[in-house]
Symmetry: C2
Subunit: 272 residues, 2 copies
């Protein structure tokens, strides 16, 4: 099954556009978990088991695991394994923001797809289409290309005009017109820029868009949802990380995460 | 000591601009090493011990280690530890091409600088200066920002004109004028584009330039050296990976690597 179909199926089944970002920063975990052997995994397992019926996907950011080196990578693997075993219908987007020349990208694709078994990955466009072949050639996976990122200062290069058109739109156009031969491409556009999101959606038809930046980063939810969905009200993967997973830092963290996730899922659906 | 001083000191001591890329692809290792418990590390150790007096730096690309997941990451750690213990004067550039929003970059900086103990790292410019603060704030480390990459197809976005100037030059200018407050920035410019390299060197004064793409990727050595060095004939970190480390796939691989490294070091010095 393609990533796009997997995403569609779960979006329909769970009636949700919500993606939970598993940005499991060890420093922010509840005290009682920090004593465990695999605190990041135990935390993720509890959050996943409490929210699996509310999401269209999970998105762990590998940076928070690599910060703990081998132990973190192992706990990320356990997390993916837990999802694959118990909730095989949930697509996992690994937020890894990789991008190197071709023979190096082959190594990253092995880590992301063959070892961790993620369904999709985020990548940098900067080295061009040819360099990304080890990712783009994977017909069964989703390749999310960074387009307009959610961070303050993200416009430093992304908004520069090339023939009177901002770079992020040029990137979107290349991906849509030329990179998507396997119908496995998707774009990352931050919720903090709803006007830009609207433009990208118009260009992209029903291509999935990963939209981080609601919640802690401050994106306006109504504008984001209306600008982000396709004509069928789908294919907007609206990500919240810290606002959900760290809703409580006490022993009730998983219940609090479920409550936040439920609220956000419903708010999103109200605006669809 | 700053990265720039460390690079200068070893360049003078070894009279070398040669950087050896430790792109230690497990599939390409000599058969007799593949049976060992830590073949990537054993290979690196032999290459390092055979070439330490010929280089200005070593540059492992983390993609080839992450391809072997935890085991690879451990062997990369062993490799850095070996250099730090035996050749503490050699700067190590970790080619990791990272680039995320700030709080995620904090995780990557932990991996690269605090765990692996690299002296420098390569990063993507795409998310802008602010996002890279966890790297740029490290005064003691070198931050190599991708500018014009060596791969075929690298010009897809990097050569696009912004106000009649190619994007890679705009990036170089931002780094030189605004990002380099700690005098720890450097740029990556491929040897496969000597005309572009010459332009960047003119803008960058004595900023270090990492120049991959001689050897297997086909860059012209004489043009590369003449275009890449600063006015004192330094600060060009000329990288060769596969052409040196896989010069022989037999038991004599380390001797063969030394011979290739010596040849290339001398050729470079002839053109300085």
């Amino acid at each position: 099954m393609t990533f796009k179909d997997k995403l569609k199926n779960l979006t329909l089944k769970n009636n949700s556009l919500l993606c939970i970002g598993l940005d499991t920063d060890l420093d922010k975990l509840p005290v009682h978990l920090k004593k465990q052997k695999h605190p990041q995994f135990e935390f993720n397992k509890a959050v996943i088991d409490a929210t699996f019926d509310l999401v269209c996907s999970f998105k762990p950011n590998i940076a928070f695991y690599e910060a703990q080196n081998m132990s973190g990578l192992l706990q990320l693997k356990f997390t993916l394994d837990h999802i694959k075993k118990n909730y095989p219908e949930i697509p996992v987007i690994l937020d890894a923001k990789r991008g190197d020349i071709g023979n190096s990208n082959t190594g990253y694709a092995k880590l992301v797809f063959d070892y961790l078994n993620a369904d999709a990955v985020t990548v940098h466009p900067f080295l061009g289409k040819q360099s990304l072949a080890p990712f783009l050639d994977r017909k069964d996976k989703g390749i999310f290309i960074l387009c307009r990122t959610s961070n303050e200062g993200g416009g430093e290069f992304q908004d520069l005009k090339v023939n009177s058109r901002p770079l992020y739109q040029i990137i979107a156009q290349h991906v849509i017109d030329d990179w998507n031969k396997n119908d496995n491409c998707a774009l990352v556009v931050g919720a903090t820029y709803p006007a830009e999101l609207e433009i990208v959606r118009r260009l992209a038809n029903d291509m999935p868009l990963l939209i981080p930046g609601v919640g802690v980063q401050g994106g306006d939810l109504e504008k984001t949802v209306k600008a982000g969905v396709d004509k069928d009200g789908r294919n907007a993967v609206i990500n919240s990380s810290r606002g959900i997973i760290f809703a409580s830092q006490g022993e009730d963290f998983a219940d609090a995460a479920r409550q936040q996730a439920l609220n956000l899922k419903n708010q999103i659906n109200n605006y669809r």
